[in-house]
Amino acid sequence: KMAAAGSLRRAGWRLWRGRAVVRCQLSPPQHPLQASAVLRRVSDEQKKEPLASSSQQQFDSHATDHQPEQEPQGPRPSYTGQGGQESEDYETEEQLQHRILTAALEFVPEHGWTAEAIAEGAKTLGLSVAAAGMFHSDGSELILHFVSQCNTKLSELLEQEQKLVQLGEAEKKPTDQFLRDAVEARLRMLIPYIEKWPQALSILLLPHNIPSSLNLLTSMIDDVWHYAGDQSTDFNWYTRRAVLTGIYNTTELVMMQDSSPDFEETWRFLENRVADAMNMGNTANQVQSTGEAVVQGLMGAAVTVSNAETIRAVR
């Protein structure tokens, strides 16, 4: 069993690196119905969804019961369902849930962020509509999944831009331009769902969702600053993130109510806010240097006074 678990882990690692498809052969299962009806081979996924490394190693208990033999294989055959003679490494339930949620997104403009959209999504994957019962009935998971997907897309975008700059194919943008472009890119991802987004925001503010939504927001802001080249280790780290969070949130709200063509008003609002933030930074610097000057002046005055006293004493 140890060998099997070890080999499964290795298989998971290989799959994560996107390399060879691993094929396992099932020994006849103990219960005739135990072969999973729906969980597919991991290799079948062609999306760029973030696969958390931990989930790769949690294969469900039924997969670990089988003794897999690994043979490297070329192009994969068509999917064999329940009762198929050969099965590969099964995806986990979480991955299946991700697939359902991704499929459900296309039904959001029609049904909103609801269990109905999830049910329609499950239907397109060939599952029963009852599979929507796996998720909370208020649609929270769908929204969180979408937000997480958008954040990942944004990270990838910024990563690519950074690569171009490093290769010398593009110029490094000034900070305010960078922030503006990043926030705009991220907010543009909301455009297909903009009608139902207010509903999503209100659901994200529900108490049981706040930890997760806050987490996603802060990590996104963190990412943006990281790619903007922020390397501060002092209090600036906090102020920068707080400022950008404020800019992002207010711009998002403005976008909800914007009816101008291609959201021009929103981008102009964003530009103004970023400019304000930059100025505020300068003001802070000015305040700091003024403060330093004042302190130096005081120190100088103190030294002068003490010198004067000493000279007088000497006389």
Binding site: H31, S36, A115, L127, S128, V129, A130, A131, G133
Partner: protein
């Protein structure tokens, strides 16, 4: 009772020991393994027979007894089950051991109201409807309102089904409802047929629970959901004492007064005690192949809803 059943006992007395063993084993094979009926130990065949008789005799007073024993709370439990299921229109439900149709009727009501809301929302969006379209939408009769949702009520007991059909007629449920005589351990349906499988207060009476679970897995579509509403074990010691007191002192008496049947209700409370607790049932469901198996205690464990998905 066993002595009366087997005439070969008399033969055994005259023949040898080998024949006695043979007869005993044949009797054992015919009747099945030892199992429980309430607190008694019986063979499997005897158990099936006895349970059939129990429900045959209580069928007419089943709903009345439910109300009086649980003080009407069973309606709330069944409503909670329906909310948990949250069926969307177009769902195909199989209600096993559904006897008098409580779950089926609730399903129909739920789906109808969901559908109504959907239609209202659609109408709100379409601001420029022609008069014809508006009149068509008002003509949506009950059948259309139900959509493609259907529920099949399956029960092993003819009497219970009879009572259920009468109730349906009385309450006016006609479309989207089927009544099938069948055994939970061997369902008369094809594979991969149903979206949801429910068994409310029925799995306790099944003799081979693992077979029933396997059948449930078989008839569900991929992605389908298994829901089981059943009496379970109370962990809170104080509540447990009160519950035991109520079960053993009050319920059989109510059974005698209202339904004229002390024994059946004695069986009922005993069978609750013999039923596996929440975690054990969850393990059995997982063993069958269901994933994302979970349970929800209602009234601190007096009743539990187990849910699993065929993935």
């Amino acid at each position: 009772a066993a002595a009366g059943l087997c005439p070969c006992r008399a033969l055994l007395a005259r023949r040898g020991g080998a024949l006695r063993a043979l007869c005993g084993s044949v009797r054992g094979l015919a009747a099945g393994q030892e199992t429980h009926f309430g607190f008694q130990t019986v063979t499997e065949a005897e158990r099936r027979e006895k349970i059939y008789q129990v429900f045959e005799s209580v069928a007419k007073k089943y709903d009345v007894m439910n109300d009086s024993m649980t003080l009407g709370i069973h309606r709330v439990w069944k409503d909670i089950l329906m909310h948990k299921m949250n069926p969307s229109p177009g769902t195909l439900l199989l209600d096993v051991a559904g006897g008098t149709g409580d779950i089926a009727f609730r399903f129909i009501n739920y789906v109808r109201s969901v559908r109504e809301h959907q239609l209202q929302r659609k109408l709100k969006h379409h601001q420029n409807l022609s008069w014809q379209e508006i009149s068509e939408s008002y003509q949506e009769d009950k059948f259309k309102l139900l959509g493609d949702s259907r529920v099949v009520v399956c029960d092993i007991n003819k009497e219970m089904l009879k009572v259920g059909k009468q109730k349906a007629q009385h309450l006016g449920y006609s479309e989207g409802l089927s009544w099938v005589l069948g055994d939970a351990e061997e369902l008369p349906f094809d594979d991969d047929k149903f979206d949801v499988y429910t068994i409310a207060f029925g799995i306790r009476n099944v003799t081979r629970i693992d077979l029933a679970l396997q059948e449930a897995y078989r008839v569900l579509k991929p992605g389908g959901r298994f829901l089981c509403l059943e009496f379970s074990h109370v962990s809170n010691p104080l509540l447990s004492r009160l519950y035991d007191l109520y079960s053993f002192q009050v319920i059989p008496v109510l059974g005698e007064i209202i339904a004229g049947d002390w024994k059946s209700y004695q069986y009922l409370v005993e069978s609750i005690r013999r039923f596996p607790p929440q975690e054990e049932l969850k393990a059995m469901i997982e063993d069958t192949g269901f994933l994302k198996v979970d349970y929800q205690n209602l009234n601190s464990g007096i009743v539990a809803i187990h849910s699993g998905f065929k993935l």
